[in-house]
Structures are given as C-alpha cells and as structure tokens.
C-alpha cells in the first residue's frame, strides 16, 4: 500500500491567517491552589453554552498549592475531545512557567497575559494581548487574597471578548458555578465585564480564533468519568462502598457519597440504604467490600495503582473463594508513587493477573463517560453473575477531566443478582454443594449467610476445597477446581462487553485501542483518511479476558497497530498470546508521557511505520 505524503505547507494544522472558527485550544497556565478552577470552568461552560463541543483537561502537579498547573479547553466544531497537541491561545498567569509556555507555542498563536510579565519580548511571531489583571481586579475588591482570585475571572472576560463569547453566557456560567451565592456571583460578573471592557477600550483583535454560535451542545451535559462511574454504581444498586483516598480515584468515592446522600436515603424510614466507609488502607477497603459481597450486598471499592498493589492478596482470596466485588482502578502513572496526577494505562497486566497463583480477572475498559456509567452497572451484574472480582479500569484523563456527552439512558435491564439459592430453593432442591458446576458454565451456586435452612451453611476458605467447600489437599480436587475456574473464564468471555469493531471498505491495516485512547483514535482516523488517504479497520477492546473477536480481527488485517498509554504495550502482549499465528502482525504504538494521548501522535506513528521509517518506535 502506498502512503501519500502530507503536503509540506500543511505542517501546522491550519495556518492562522484566515478566520478559524470553533476549532482551537486554550491553555490557562496558573499556579496550583490559586483558585483558577472556577474561572476555567466558567470559560469552558460559556463556550459550551454557545453550542460548541468542548472538552476540558486539567494538567496538575502533585501538590496542594504553589506548583504550576495547566488547564486546557478544546473547542471543536467536529466534536473531537482528545487532547490537542497544539495550543492556540495561551493565557499566561504563572510567572514561573510563562517563558517556557510562550516558547512552546507554534508561530502565529495567541498569548493573553498579565501585563507585568513582559512576555512580548520573548518572541515576535506571536499575537500578544497584555492585560493589567491585578489592577482590574483591584477595582472590584481590595483584599489581597480576593484580588488574586478575582484576577482569574478577569481573564475569562478578556478571553470572552477576544473570542466573541457572549457575555450573557459568561454570566450564566458564573451563576451556575456559584449556585445561589449571590455576592460571589455579583463580584465575578463585575470582574468579567471589566476584563472585557479593557479589551474593547485598549486593544484590537489581531488573531484568527473565534467562537460562533452553533447548536451542537443542545441537550448535552458535562461530566467527569469518576462522577459517571459513581452515578452508574448508584444505579447498579451498590450498597457497600469502601475506599481509601488516592488521586485520581478519590473523587469517585466523594461523588458517590454525594449522590447516595441525595438519592439513596429511604424516604419512608429516613435511613441510608447504603454504607460508605473510608477505610484505614486499601487492604481494609477491599476486605470490607469482599466481606459485604460475600454476605450478599453489592459492594465496591475505588483506588489507583498503589492501592491495587495492596489489594493483591485479597483479590486472590475473592477469586478463589468466588466472591463478587467490583474494583475501580482510575489509573495513574506508576510504578510506586510515579506521577500521581498524570494519566496512564499501565495497570493492564497487574489487573488481569493480580495476586498469586493462577488467576485471570475480568477487566472492563470504559472509553467515555457514557461507558463509565454503563459499564459500571454492567460490572456489578458481571461480578454477581460470575462470582468473582470485576475491575473497571479507567484512568486519570477519563476520570478527572470534563467530558461533554449525551444524557445517560436509564438502565432498563433489571439487576442480575446471579446464582443465589434461597431457603425455598434449597428446600426444593434437597441438596447443595457450594462449588459444584451444576450448569456446565463453571459458575456454581451460592447461599448467603443468614439463610434459614439446614443445607445453607458452607465454609468459605482460601485454602484448598472440594465441591462441598470442605477442606481438601487432594491433587484431583485442586486441579478440578482450577479447571472449573478456567471454564468460568471462558464463560466470562461471552458475558463481558464485546469489542466495538469497524471494518472500512478497502482498508488493509487494523488499529486496536481501548479506554480513553478511543477519543484520539476517532480523530486519528480522520487525519489518516483526509491527510494521507489511509483507511483503517478499527477495533476497540472493551474487556479482558479478550473476546474471540480480537483474534478474528487480527487475522483479517494485514497488520494491527495496538495503541496504548503504557511503555511496553501490555494489551499488545496479551493479544499476541491469543493470536499465535498472527503475532508478527502486531505493532505497538505507545504513548507514556503522563499526558493524555493525542491524535497527531498516533497518526504520525502509524504513517511513519507504514513508510517503514520508524521500526524502533512501532515495536
């Protein structure tokens, strides 16, 4: 297959000469803890309210206050939500990083900055808008601390004026953020207007970036993946949630506590239909969830890599004793503390094979906030159906960033509580063997403690056991048990969410991705087609164990690029194990910088590899 060369003059995506409407990225560079969160949200929401698809990403340090932090807003008329590699508009509020931030820009881009920083001296190929933020803030408040906070909303006003965002939308976004706190609303609106007024009075627009009202966000909402997982868990009927704080998973537990407090207090009794416990560590968090799952409650915990490591022993216990539990892993960069505030898909192996001995766990990969909601619900059904731990693997990018989405559908499928025998069932059956494969699917029946029947009780143990749950060290018993668990894994392959596959006419090469990489893949497909004339088949993995469809996909493609956000290509290796004869077809495209993968990166790698240029990076 021949690869077209991208025309030279088109190297930067669009030269900022003509107008560029509803297609740009803004980066706000501030200091952690300076209170810019509200301003950034207001700016993002105002664009969203103008009908333009947006996404918002926070690139923050592991620190409470004082270190640099960047918030990027991408406006994309085409609805692309991945990180955009190029920054079009820099709002430079942090003296410490300002120089570097400016140096990193492509020519022709925009810098809105605090006048005092004197940035225009650095380069002469950018468009500069110096603004005296603190003076303007000083017109609204005197208090030094408040002034700093208010300066943030001033830049929102200035950016709105420059981009053509209607002030009414800014006001609405402010009112929404400060929910009923009238004084704050008034102050912020006043400051935003000052920022806009300053532009009108003192500066002329010299850049091409502009916002124009569209209707692509009507009926949409903005939510982060952790909140979506929390909502999904609530509608899945979770009743015991245990956790230990860790970035980037903490906000999942916090969001759940908030939702449950609102919607899961029994109106008749005023009692909570749930228990949320902040445990003393992740071992205890998972132990409690397993205890609860064993006793028949829908139970979950949420953590990130280091917590997953601590949970390893207990996960083995739950796998071997066949106890349902759902574990959310909002992945961050490891090993160890790694980069705790940066994103990664590096826990694939550790999740699939967590613990000692022969294990193989079910792992789900939501790729969007909608899937965070839906697969969370699915996870609880799977855990109880399969009687084993089920992981939901999202990541910091998906979990903590803001994503625009259609509203979620109310779950119509009733809860699947799996194979649980009641006292009446036992009476009817007249026998019960906890670990017997009655149905031939590898999944036995269980009873819950408290079941009032002489046949109900059984002994759950992490040591060897036979079908009756009696202690056993007999070689045949152990082997039989492990074979049944393997069979259960085969059953799981059919029950887990299947891959999403898209075959394109005339396409020879395949690309495989999963999780949050999907948003970049959508954009990458367009880039490959439009810029290079490359059509691809695309498979998105949604779960481990890998379904049969992956094998078939690889066999149908000339080669398959597996795109991942980790160093070694962990899913790529798992695929290789599955596709014995096609191993040579697997090529890895790997992004492990801690920042979310972008479409351009994938496009460049695939193109280079197709041209035979980049053997080394396409491993």
């Amino acid at each position: 297959m021949s690869v077209q060369t991208r025309p030279q003059e088109d190297l930067s995506p669009k030269k900022p000469d003509g107008e560029i409407v509803n297609d740009f990225s803004i980066e706000v560079a501030t200091v952690n803890g300076s209170g810019s969160q509200s301003s950034n949200n207001v700016l993002m929401r105002a664009i969203f309210q103008m009908g333009i698809p947006i996404s918002g990403k926070n690139l923050f340090p592991s620190n409470i206050a004082g270190l640099p932090t960047w918030f990027t807003i991408r406006a994309s008329k085409d609805g692309y939500m991945a990180r955009k590699k190029e920054i079009d508009i820099l709002i430079a509020m942090n003296p410490e990083t300002a120089r570097e931030d400016v140096e990193n820009l492509e020519p022709g881009r925009v810098v809105i900055y605090n006048e005092k920083l004197n940035l225009s001296k650095i380069r002469d190929d950018l468009v500069y808008y110096p603004i005296p933020f603190s003076n303007l803030a000083g017109e609204v408040v005197q208090d030094a601390r408040l002034k700093k906070l208010i300066a943030n909303i001033v830049y929102v006003g200035s950016a709105a004026e420059l981009l053509g965002i209607e002030m009414a939308e800014v006001e609405l976004a402010i009112a929404k953020w400060f929910k009923g706190k009238q004084k704050a609303i008034d102050l912020n609106i006043q400051a935003a207007h000052l920022g806009a007024q300053y532009i009108r009075d003192n500066l002329t627009k010299r850049d091409p970036f502009r916002v124009q009202r569209m209707d692509k966000t009507k009926g949409k909402m903005i939510i982060d993946g952790n909140s979506a997982c929390a909502l999904g868990s609530m509608f899945a009927g979770v009743s015991v949630m245990t956790w230990y704080p860790i970035t980037p998973a903490s906000s999942l537990g916090e969001a759940l506590a908030d939702y449950m407090g609102r919607y899961r207090i029994d109106p008749e009794t005023g009692k909570a239909t749930f228990a949320i416990v902040q445990a003393e560590d992740e071992l205890a968090a998972l132990g409690m969830a397993i205890g609860a799952g064993w006793a028949g409650a829908r139970a979950m915990t949420a953590t990130s890599g280091p917590g997953i490591s601590l949970m390893a022993e207990f996960v083995g216990l739950a796998y071997f004793t066949e106890v349902p539990v759902v574990i959310f892993n909002v992945q961050r960069i490891g090993p160890s503390t790694g980069l705790p505030t940066r994103t990664s898909q590096g826990d694939i192996f550790s999740l699939h094979y967590l613990s000692h001995g022969d294990t193989k766990h079910v792992v789900l990969f939501p790729a969007s906030v909608t899937e965070c909601f839906e697969l969370s619900i699915h996870a609880f059904d799977l855990a109880e159906r399969l009687q084993q731990p089920v992981f939901v693997a999202s990541d910091l990018d998906l979990g903590m960033n803001n994503w625009m989405t259609d509203p979620f559908d109310y779950p119509e499928k009733p809860l699947d509580r799996g194979k649980v025998l009641s006292a009446e069932d036992l009476e009817r059956l007249g026998e019960f063997a906890r670990y017997k494969d009655v149905d031939g699917d590898g999944i036995p029946y269980r009873t819950l403690p408290g079941t009032d029947h002489p046949l109900a009780a059984y002994f759950t143990r992490g040591s060897g056991h036979d079908e009756q749950a009696e202690y056993s060290e007999r070689p045949e018993d152990y082997e039989k048990l492990m074979d049944r668990l393997a069979k259960k894994c085969e059953t799981a392959k059919k029950l887990v969410p299947q891959s999403v596959i898209q075959y394109t006419d005339g396409a020879e090469i395949g690309v495989i991705a999963y999780g949050s990489t999907d948003v970049a893949m959508r954009e990458c497909q367009e880039q490959l087609r439009n810029e290079y004339g490359i059509a691809i088949n695309y498979l998105r993995i949604r779960a481990l164990p890998l379904a049969e469809d992956v094998k078939e996909f690889v066999s149908r493609c000339k080669c398959a690029y597996v795109v991942e956000q980790n160093r070694d290509g962990q899913i790529g290796d798992l695929i290789k194990l599955e596709v014995e004869n096609d191993q040579g077809k697997i090529r890895k495209v790997l992004h492990y910088k801690g920042i979310p993968i972008d479409a351009r990166f994938i496009t460049d790698q695939v193109v280079a590899c197709e041209k035979g240029e980049m053997e080394s990076s396409c491993r």
Partner: protein, 347 residues
C-alpha cells in the same frame, strides 16, 4: 412390665441440642488450648439459644483461625487471609446486620500482622465478638515469636525474644473497645459467661483468651502455659450471666459484694467481688488495673471494661433495621426522576 420413658434430650430455648452446635472434628494438636475455647463457644451459643443459621464465623490465618471449622457447622464461615479478618467481618456485618458475627484470631493474626485492622475495628465498634486465642507464638508456622511473646523467652533454635509484648486488653481499651475481657482456655466457668455477655453486647466485644500452645509454648517459664495460668490467675470477680429470656432471681448479697451490668438486650452480667471492689465501667480504673497487674506479674482475668450503651458503627452510619443485602431493587436503584435530576445539574 413397666417401660421407663427415655431420658428427655436436653434442648435450648430453640429446641436445639448441643449436637446442633457442633463442628467438624478438630485437627489441632491434642491438648491445644484453642480446642477448649471452641467447646466454650459451642456451649455459650447453645445456652443463649443463638440460631446457628444467623451466625457468621470469621477468621484470619493460624491454628486459632482454623477453629471455626470445629464449632457450629450449621453456620456460614469465612476463613480469610492473615491478619485481615476485621475488614471481612466489618463488611459482612455492614451487608447484613442481622448476622451474629464471631471472629476467631490468634495473637500473631491480631497484633502482629493484623494490628492495624484490629485497632480500626475497635475504633468503629463494629457489632461482633472478637476472640484472640493468645499463645504468644505463631503456632501454625512452627513456633516463631508473636507480638505477645514473653521477653526473654527462647525458641528451640536458641533465638531469644527481646521485644516487649503488646497487651491486647490495654490496647483494646485505648482503641475505644466497648467490651474488653480476659480469660483463660482452662476456665470454662469464667469464659462461658464472658462469651454470653459478649453475645448480648451491641458493639465489639474483645476477649483476650490465654490459650496454651502445647507444642511450641507450654514449657516451664512460659507465661502462656497451662501451669503458669493456673498458678497466676487473678480473678477480678466471679462472673454470672443472666440472659434476658430468663427470669431474674433476686439474690441477696452483702453491700458492695455485687455489681450488675445491664446489657443492650436486657441480659445482666453479675460480678461478685473476689479481692477488690472493681467497677468495670470505669475506663481509667481499668487501665490502671491492667498496668498494676502487669507490673506485679499477675494474670488478671474477668470483665475488664464494658460500656453497654456505646453507639455501634451501624447506628453511626444510619443503617436501616433490614439487612442491606436483603433490600430489593426498588430500594437499591433510584427512579428515572433521580437520574434526570442528577443530570440536569450537569447540563
């Protein structure tokens, strides 16, 4: 010819016999203290008329943690991982508060590897009985020192322990435990009423029970041996238990001779004075007493501390009377309006 009627089987208030509280035959060393404790558990559960199907037996790992297999076969059990039984038990009780939860652990399982979870269980006052079968060694792994081992004691390999022991009762009181008792596997007269008291308590009941390991730590000089316990036992009081379902008989005692503690379910614990007047609801006095007897080398047993009205974890969490595990889908999945409303806030 007259036929004498068969001797009526002894039954408890549920009509169950002792056999209904039995377990599998023990596989522990013959003479192991742990087996004696299992017997007292069966006896007290039988006498209290606890329905075995409502019981959840929890344990960690160790010889002691194996024992739930040797009592109450008609109850569910969960033998977990080493040192982490408290979290499993907490979760089980959260899911089903109707369960009568009893955890059995060892000194290694509790205060060596499991120290953290143990402390937090007590802080939370999770309703359950927690028994430490304390023998000062790791029995199951062949006699290494645990965190309750005597300073100066010597392994067969010649290794000497030179670290101070952790006192489970002092620790438990410090951690906020609401029922703290110490006893001895060879003293059923005391252990049974202590267990019955624990069964009628609404929070965590911690029983630190000296339970000699005949194989690795029953030698001369060991403070965890049968002989030492017999020679040094200092009874805090004589203890009787009057269950809530039995009529209270009035017994006349001399002034200051008897203390009565009314438990959550209306049962009464009667403490008769032995040597000293002791008030087990006084936390500071309890700590003082533990310190004094530790220094004098006495083996103090009895109900050391009790707070029968301490709020338990389930009430703190505002849980309903129904088990969470028994809630139907209507209670677990909020309606459409809830999803609509939650999403409205995000538009």
């Amino acid at each position: 010819m007259s036929v004498s009627a068969p001797k009526p089987k002894r039954v408890n208030r549920l009509g169950l016999t002792m056999i209904d509280y039995r377990g599998e035959p023990s596989t522990l060393c013959s003479g192991c203290g742990h087996d004696a404790i299992s017997s007292q558990i069966m006896k007290s559960f039988y006498e209290m008329g606890v329905n075995p199907h409502r019981v959840a037996k929890m344990s960690g790992i160790g010889c002691s943690s194996k024992t739930p297999a040797y009592f109450l076969s008609n109850s569910h059990a969960f033998n977990g991982v080493h040192g982490r039984m408290p979290s499993l038990a907490t979760g089980a009780v959260l899911a089903n508060r109707k369960l009568v939860c009893i955890g059995v652990s060892g000194d290694g399982d509790t205060v060596s590897i499991g120290l953290g979870q143990f402390c937090h269980l007590l802080r939370r006052n999770v309703p359950m009985i927690y028994i430490i079968e304390n023998n000062g060694v790791y029995g199951l792994t062949k006699g290494q020192f645990s965190a309750t081992a005597d300073p100066g004691s010597k392994l067969k390999t010649g290794v000497v322990n030179d670290l101070p022991p952790i006192d489970c009762c002092t620790l438990a009181i410090e951690m906020g435990c609401s029922y703290v008792a110490r006893s001895y596997a060879g003293d059923p007269k005391q252990l049974v009423p202590l267990l019955q008291g624990a069964l009628s308590h609404s929070g965590t009941s911690m029983l630190d029970v000296l339970s000699p390991c005949v194989t690795f730590n029953n030698h001369q000089g060991s403070t965890k041996s049968y002989r030492w316990a017999k020679e040094h036992e200092e009874l805090l009081h004589q203890i009787d238990f009057v269950p809530h379902f039995e009529p209270i008989e009035t017994v006349v005692y001399e002034e200051g001779e008897l203390r009565e503690v009314e438990m959550h379910d209306g049962s009464r614990i009667r403490l008769r004075k032995v040597d000293r007047d002791y008030n087990p609801t006084d936390r500071d006095a309890a700590l003082r007493m533990l310190n004094e007897t530790r220094d004098s080398g006495e083996f103090l047993t009895g109900l050391i501390y009790v707070n029968p009205v301490a709020e338990n974890f389930l009430d703190l969490l505002n849980l309903p009377d129904t088990a969470l595990a028994a809630l139907p889908q209507e209670k677990l999945r909020p309606g459409r309006e809830a999803l609509e409303e939650a999403m409205q806030g995000l538009m």
